[in-house]
């Protein structure tokens, strides 16, 4: 008779994996994905970003940012620009509302930057008024050098497998 059998003589041997660490890790992953997916849903609108050849762009830093999205519409050119999940028309009234909202946020956060994500297929005629609006929104916010804007592009060399 083996030593183990002598110790547990008369009792059934209960074997079971300790699932506690796995459950802990799973919960951590769930919390992580809940938080991250909420952020990206607000900031990331699916679009085809510009893909420059031999890009001289820099990785995005962790500075606080406002993301302005200009996605292509059904007929390539957009009808609205989105800030978070609010759409603003590209007409003068819509752009004025966008300017007011941007100015409010730029005033509240002195360090904040503006990320401009625009679809590469859009005509420049639709992007230029948005750039002008961003520039105007810095008026009176204490930014002598103007609003810091980050033009978002896609670096195919840095692009890995996307889930």
């Amino acid at each position: 008779m083996s030593a183990l059998s002598r110790l547990d003589a008369g009792r059934p041997v209960r074997t079971g994996a300790n699932l506690t660490p796995m459950i802990d890790m799973t919960f951590l992953l769930v919390v992580f994905f809940v938080l991250v997916s909420r952020i990206t849903a607000v900031e990331q609108v699916p679009m085809e970003l510009p893909v420059p050849n031999d890009p001289a762009s820099n990785p995005a830093d962790e500075t606080a940012r406002i993301v302005v999205n200009l996605a292509a519409g059904e007929l390539a050119n957009p009808r609205s620009v989105t800030l978070d999940q609010t759409a603003y028309g590209l007409d003068p009234g819509g752009l004025q509302n966008l300017e007011i909202e941007l100015r409010r946020r730029l005033t509240n956060s002195p360090e904040v930057q503006v990320n401009l994500r625009a679809d590469r297929r859009i005509d420049y005629a639709f992007v230029a008024p948005v750039i002008d609006t961003i520039a105007r929104s810095g008026r009176g916010t204490g930014r002598p050098d103007g609003v810091r804007v980050n033009l978002v592009v896609m670096n195919e060399h840095e692009r890995g497998a996307t889930p």
Partner: protein, 160 residues
């Protein structure tokens, strides 16, 4: 009566009843959530940025009387990969040659332009944003620090 005694004896032999929380449904749900988020999340992989300061030239900002007004180099983006760089040189016709041309014009490479010369990208209204950014990238790639977009003479930025 005899049955009752027999049952109580069995309970005593087995010891106190064990109370356990059944975690299986919770773990099932948590795994479902994990799989959902794993499949549904897309990260901004590969996204990079060009930094650009956008001064509000239209506003009544303070004007520095000692600031020299550098005449910018205008790069007209004409579409279909064509560009025009007016100036005292024989500029390139194609966007793919723009970075090399601009680098040759740098003062430290024997050219005429300091690297802080303002470079204004001036795309035609019908030009794709992707092509406009390509010209912007060429100027940054050539080593200039003050690159921006121009709309007439009203707006310009400085970027890198």
């Amino acid at each position: 009566m005899r049955n009752h005694h027999r049952a109580s004896r069995r309970r005593e032999r087995l010891g106190p009843p064990k109370v356990e929380l059944n975690l299986t449904p919770m773990i099932d749900v948590v795994f479902q959530l994990l799989i959902y988020f794993l499949l549904g999340t897309s990260f901004a992989v590969g996204e990079q940025t060009f930094r650009m300061d956008l001064p509000d030239r239209g506003g009544r900002g303070q004007v520095d009387p000692f600031e020299l007004d550098d005449s910018p180099v205008m790069i007209r983006v004409l579409g279909s990969g064509r560009v025009d760089v007016p100036g005292p040189w024989r500029g390139p016709n194609r966007t793919i040659n723009l970075a090399e041309f601009l680098e040759e014009q740098r003062l430290d490479r024997g050219g005429l332009l300091p690297t802080d010369t303002p470079i204004h990208i001036d795309p035609n209204p019908g030009v794709d944003w992707g092509e406009a950014v390509e010209a912007f990238n060429a100027a940054v790639l050539a080593g200039y620090h003050s690159v921006g977009f121009a709309e007439g003479t009203a707006r310009a930025g400085s970027g890198r």
